[in-house]
């Protein structure tokens, strides 16, 4: 009987470990409303998603800045312009319930039935 309980416990622990790794923490924070896309092409933090997510967001933003900078150099524009253009795509992919940061309105949530918050300057 004790053995059965141990096996069951081990199985539960294993399942928890697997499901814990199944979803990316930044993705979870995004659907949980502590991380969202910004109009400038970077990820933003709302409230406190915890140190681990905070670090991952910072790392993603550094990667993005590097990508924006190299494309900007190739196209003869500023990295900011690349970021603002990237926001056309990243904001078009904000899911319902997720937060996003607009240039004029701060943080907002995309509610059910609302269109994706694509800035006016973006071409469709």
């Amino acid at each position: 009987m004790t053995r059965i309980i141990w096996v069951a416990l081990a199985a539960t622990a294993a399942a928890t470990a697997v499901s814990g790794h199944a979803q990316d923490p930044v993705a979870a924070a995004r659907s949980g409303g502590t991380v969202g896309e910004r109009f400038d092409g970077y990820l933003g933090i709302v409230g406190d998603p915890g140190d681990s997510v905070r670090r991952q967001v910072a790392a993603i933003n550094i990667k993005r800045r590097s990508l924006y900078s190299s494309l900007a150099a190739r196209k003869g524009v500023s990295p900011q312009e690349v970021g603002l253009t990237a926001a056309c795509t990243t904001l078009s992919r904000v899911a319902i319930g997720e937060l996003y940061f607009t240039q004029s309105g701060g943080w907002r949530r995309r509610d059910a039935g609302q269109a994706a918050p694509v800035p006016a300057y973006c071409t469709q």
């Binding site: 400038d40 990508l67 253009t85 940061f101 973006c122």
Partner: protein
């Protein structure tokens, strides 16, 4: 051969230098600040859009969970 190698090395070095300049950040936890005053002209968006979309689609580590438009 040596010359070819030298050219290849110089090429790699010239690529690596600007990249290193972008990546080597002393405090990775320092947030990238939001500048609310940035503006963009539509013609620039038009010129960049295709390349930027490719950049996003080809770098899922920098753009995680960016599922195609719903």
């Amino acid at each position: 051969m040596t010359r070819q190698r030298l050219i290849a090395f110089a090429g790699a070095a010239s690529l690596a230098v600007p990249l290193a300049g972008c990546i080597s950040v002393d405090t990775p936890d320092k947030p990238i600040e939001i500048n609310l005053n940035v503006t963009i002209r539509q013609e620039v968006v038009v010129r960049l859009q295709k390349d930027v979309e490719d950049l996003i689609n080809q770098n899922p580590d920098a753009f995680p969970q960016q599922a195609p438009k719903q």
